[in-house]
């Protein structure tokens, strides 16, 4: 075992129900070794730096396909990272939540390899469908990059949800587990996004934090999962029908988020240099 691998993480990775081959790779290129190093690095962040509180974990099926649908906030996808960590550290047996990586990540060196080795394929409908048909746990943020671009004052809001996830859930008969991530806006309080500079660097935007550095603050976070929602259909329904389902999921996420906000505000004070915000 490597020097960088925590014993508990090592044991948990061994218990993941992912079909790795003898060399430790699954058919999508997810690597057991990379997961071990990654979760060993994330463990102290998850437990001590961000002190993540996870509730409603019983709503995530122990095995079989499911789709976690949540809100984005906080500059870059720290919420995604901690959601994946909650499924890994809190579920028994642990599960690997697989995200859909932004396309620019697959085009850039290093991030292209890391996202693939950690099980996060490029955000394409074909990938999502394949993973679900393979009975994996998919994590989707239907707000997309618009969601991570929320500023500090907008951290409790939800922007428009895309509808692709509903069509996918219908076509693959996948239950949706609504989720609210709380505290993303606090750990990375964004005051502006530099879109032009981002485009030059091949990313959607560069978030600017209130203190200038792109480093997350050691603030508590929480992830709340709600009861699974099942929709019936083929995925080829008209836009109005699908939109109603999207709104239903969005409302559930909004309710979980409002609930989470109340708990969060009892747990932590707002950032003194930014005030309460929206």
């Amino acid at each position: 075992m490597s020097l960088f691998v925590d014993d508990d993480v090592h044991a948990r990775v061994r218990r993941l129900e992912v079909p790795f081959n003898a060399a430790g790779y699954d058919r999508y290129g997810t690597s057991r070794k990379h997961l071990e190093v990654f979760f060993s690095f994330v463990a102290p962040l998850y437990r001590r730096y961000f002190r993540v509180e996870a509730t409603g974990l019983e709503h995530i099926p122990a095995r079989g396909r499911a789709m976690i649908i949540g809100n984005h906030s906080g500059g870059y996808a720290i919420d995604g990272l901690l959601t994946v960590a909650s499924c890994f550290f809190e579920l028994e047996p642990p599960r690997l939540a697989q995200g859909m990586a932004e396309k620019f990540l697959s085009a850039m060196p290093v991030s292209s390899t890391l996202t693939a080795r950690l099980g996060h394929l490029t955000g394409l409908p074909e990938h999502a469908e394949r993973l679900l048909n393979d009975d994996r746990l998919l994590m989707v943020f239907p707000e997309g990059a618009r969601g991570t671009a929320k500023l500090y004052k907008e951290r409790w809001s939800l922007v428009r949800f895309g509808s692709g996830f509903i069509r996918l859930a219908l076509a693959t008969k996948t239950p949706i587990v609504p989720m609210a991530f709380v505290g993303g806006g606090d750990v990375m309080p964004t005051v502006a996004n530099l879109y032009k500079l981002g485009r030059l660097m091949g990313v959607p935007y560069i978030p600017v934090s209130a203190y200038g550095l792109p480093l997350p603050l050691p603030r508590p976070c929480a992830v709340h999962y709600g009861a699974p929602m099942t929709f019936h259909g083929t995925g080829r329904e008209d836009d109005d029908t699908v939109e109603k389902m999207v709104v239903e999921v969005r409302d559930r996420v909004a309710a979980l988020l409002a609930d989470g906000r109340r708990r969060h505000e009892q747990r932590v004070r707002p950032l003194f240099f930014l005030g309460g915000g929206g």
């Binding site: 081959n21 003898a22 060399a23 790779y25 699954d26 058919r27 999508y28 290129g29 690597s31 396309k103 697959s106 085009a107 850039m108 060196p109 290093v110 991030s111 292209s112 390899t113 693939a116 080795r117 394929l121 490029t122 394409l124 074909e126 990938h127 394949r130």
Partner: protein, 307 residues
């Protein structure tokens, strides 16, 4: 069954021919290049597929099935030759197959048909478009040959056409695109990229080709199928299993480094194929023919390494 193998002197051609002979088929071979130690029961014709003499072979030998392997890659020929052999040759094979009432024709194509790109799906199904024409123009002639062969499905409905898009094949022969890439002690990788590579043992590939020819001739199977063996592996792992060392070079250095320091000589556009994966979903072929590979990923690479 009498089976005509074009490009029989190629590595894969020889494997298919030997396997067909072992299964009791009557094998007729066609290739410009010699096969000096060909088994006696294989009937060799040293003719160019695009020349008149090739028609004589079809007319006099009347094969039941044709396995068309006579295609070349950019690594071995210039553009004119490639178009003549790949597109001209494929056209001739299908015309002759139709004219002389051949029952089935198997075109052996490559999985690189789909091309490699950052935003392409990881597992290509047969429905996917040939992205290779945009990402790697040197493959355009092979893409054209593949599409021309597939068009025989409607153009010549009596001919049972099968187009196979086979992943990289590798094995003790040390021949083929992947084997050439892994030839030196050091194998170049683009710094920061480690795409999945899909390779199958050359014997398994020969099995798959013959299985397709039999299924077409005996059961009337037709269609376009991806063919692969064990699960894909990251390129770094392929290099490790091959007993080579990866040399990670920043992308801008590549055009300069190709062909130097014992690194393979590659076309500039092939860079996309070592940055991003080309992986195929072969479930349709397995379901249609019952094909199963026998060499796993480690055994496949070991057979190359220790040959």
């Amino acid at each position: 069954m009498r089976i005509l193998v074009t490009g029989i002197s190629s590595n894969l051609g020889r494997l298919v021919a030997r396997l067909a002979t072992a299964r009791g088929f009557d094998v007729v071979g066609l290739d410009r290049r010699p096969w000096p130690d060909a088994p006696r029961e294989i009937e060799m014709h040293a003719v160019d597929l695009t020349k008149r003499a090739a028609e004589d072979v079809f007319r006099t030998r009347r094969p039941d099935a044709v396995v068309h392997l006579a295609t070349v890659t950019h690594a071995s020929r210039d553009a004119d030759d490639r178009y003549r052999i790949n597109l001209g040759g494929t056209r001739t094979v299908f015309e002759l197959a139709e004219r002389y009432s051949v029952k089935s024709c198997v075109f052996v194509g490559r999985h690189t048909f789909y091309g490699a790109a950052a935003d392409a799906p990881l597992y290509h199904t047969e429905m996917d478009a040939p992205l290779a024409v945009a990402t790697f123009p040197e493959l355009a002639d092979l893409v054209a040959a593949d599409l021309f062969a597939a068009a025989a499905l409607w153009r010549a409905p009596h001919l049972r056409t099968i187009v196979l898009r086979i992943c990289y094949t590798i094995g003790p022969s040390k021949k083929g695109t992947l084997a050439s890439f892994l030839d030196g002690k050091r194998v170049p990788m683009v710094l920061g990229f480690d795409p999945l590579f899909q390779a199958m043992h050359e014997s398994d590939a020969a099995q798959a080709i013959l299985t397709a020819a039999q299924a077409a001739t005996d059961e009337g199977l037709k269609g376009v199928f991806n063919v692969a063996g064990p699960q894909p592996l990251p390129l770094s792992e392929v290099i490790r299993l091959a007993g080579r060392r990866a040399l990670h070079l920043p992308e801008p250095m590549f055009p300069w480094a190709f062909g130097r320091f014992g690194l393979p000589r590659l076309a500039a556009q092939s860079l996309e194929h070592i940055k991003h994966p080309v992986v195929v979903d072969d479930s349709a072929f397995r379901a249609a023919t019952g094909f199963a590979h026998t060499w796993d990923e480690a055994e496949t690479m070991s057979s190359f390494r220790y040959a």
